[in-house]
């Protein structure tokens, strides 16, 4: 649930993740986990959203063509395809 002030809202993250991020930014230029999170999220949001893909395309994007072909070949040899 977001709490609103004039310019910011509060987001919730799991405590273990917060602790991990706090350790991660020690010795860096980030003054707080909030500052780090805003930086990361702005960077992510700056990239356009991926277009809808077919299942094959989704699997393809996660695997190289060589991996896909090796998997298909093995599945055919074993009689699954």
């Amino acid at each position: 649930m977001a709490n609103r002030t004039a310019d910011t809202v509060t987001l919730k993250i799991p405590r273990p993740l917060y602790d991990h991020l706090r350790r991660l930014i020690e010795g860096t230029g980030f003054r707080s986990v909030t500052e780090f999170a805003v930086y990361v999220l702005r960077d992510l949001a700056a990239h356009p959203a991926p277009e809808r893909r077919s299942k094959e395309a989704e699997t393809r994007s996660a695997l190289t063509e060589a991996e896909l072909e090796a998997a298909r070949k093995r599945l055919r040899e074993l009689g699954y395809l």
């Binding site: 273990p16 699997t59 996660a62 298909r72 074993l78 009689g79 699954y80 395809l81």
Partner: protein, 380 residues
């Protein structure tokens, strides 16, 4: 396609010149022979079955998992995946050192970049993970058989463990994902078992198949306790059952090479996350999942999922109560869907089934398919 746990399917296999280089150096490295569980875990680590893990757990992940069922980075993970020291030399391994991981025949399967070697308290681990330190629990017995020093670090697989059994049914997560995509399946339900599939299990699977596109029957074939039915006997049961009673185009049978932990609720979470890595969207959780004896409450493996937000688990658990054939209903049912008394139900304990088979008596067909009973009678 459902993303793997942590967002990326890990692949720790090395090939080409990198592989040759590591293979040449392996003989000079610290040698660590893996036990059966660690061999199975190595295989799963390498192929991404245990994504996002890239190796045996370092101390920070181990302690976080034991204490909170989360990795140090906050991702849900319920069971430690660890490599035990086998010698005094192993306990002195240092960060930055490399270790050759060997199978039982002394073949180098992988090289590990040692990140740390750390001491653990097995009683504490047992209490937290297994919810007991009773010596009768097979998971506790396993902990007593290994040293209380673990080595953590990323692994690089040089060669796959050798398997002569179930060769036709050993699919890795990459392969199941490609298969499900090729079949056009969006929703895939996984069924984990270390037992034969009786009518009750068949009923749960078919209920799940009614609301999904396909079913992955994924029997665990790694190390189990001595009185569990051997995997080769179980596989014959699964094959005959699928051939005669299941729609062939809706079912995939593939083996799950992991060792059994008998950790009940925590293992239910573990099993669910792994099947997500195999590309499944749903996971059947029946009564006393991964349980043994009476160490866990009948539905503890259901309630544990409530300790996490659904999106943190990612795969949808399908909870089923105790299933049986009801003579008055005239069909399979569970305690949720049948209003009749226990005396109207056909339900047998594992012990009773073993007694019947040993005496040459086949259990009733309302309990198990006759073809399965015959295989068990001959080979169980």
């Amino acid at each position: 396609m459902i993303p793997p746990h942590g967002g990326r399917l890990v692949d720790r296999s090395v090939s080409g010149e990198d592989r040759e280089q590591l293979a040449r150096e392996a003989g000079r490295l610290l040698q660590v022979q893996l036990n059966a569980r660690e061999l199975a875990d190595l295989e799963l680590l390498a192929c991404g079955g245990l994504s996002p893990l890239e190796g045996f757990m370092t101390e920070s992940d181990y302690r976080s998992v034991v204490d909170s069922m989360r990795l140090a980075n906050g991702l849900v993970w319920s069971i430690p995946v660890v490599l035990s020291a086998k010698t005094e030399e192993h306990t002195k391994a240092k960060a930055g050192q490399q270790a050759a991981l060997l199978d039982e025949a002394g073949r180098t399967l992988a090289v590990m970049e040692v990140a740390d070697a750390y001491s653990v308290d097995h009683d504490y681990e047992a209490q937290m993970v297994l919810r007991t330190s009773d010596e009768g629990h097979p998971g506790v017995q396993y902990l007593r058989s290994i040293t209380p020093t673990y080595l953590g670090g990323r692994i690089h697989l040089l060669r796959h463990p050798e398997h002569r059994d179930f060769v036709r049914h050993r699919l890795e997560p990459k392969e199941t994902r490609v298969l499900f995509a090729a079949k056009g399946w969006n929703r895939i339900c996984a069924f984990q078992t270390r037992n034969p599939i009786h009518r009750a299990h068949e009923y749960l699977q078919k209920c799940a198949l009614e609301i999904t596109d396909g079913l992955l029957i994924h029997p665990l074939v790694g190390e189990t306790k001595a009185d569990d039915i051997p995997a080769e006997v179980r596989m014959r049961c699964y094959e005959v059952l699928i051939e005669r009673y299941y729609p062939r185009d809706r079912v995939v049978l593939s083996v799950f090479p992991a060792a059994m932990r008998y950790a009940g609720p925590r293992e239910a979470i573990f099993h669910a996350l792994i099947r997500k890595n195999y590309g499944c969207t749903h996971f059947i959780v029946g009564r006393d999942h991964a349980g043994v004896g009476s160490y866990y409450g009948t539905y503890d493996a259901h309630t544990i999922f409530g300790e996490f937000e659904p999106e943190e688990i990612g795969i949808t658990p399908l909870f089923f109560d105790h299933a049986f054939y009801c003579r008055r209903c005239g069909n399979m049912a569970t305690t949720k869907t049948c209003p009749h008394l226990e005396e109207d139900h056909v339900a047998l304990s594992g012990t009773r089934v073993r007694q019947m088979l040993a005496a040459g008596e086949l259990p009733p067909s309302e309990f198990t398919r006759p073809e399965v009973a015959q295989i068990l009678a001959r080979g169980g």
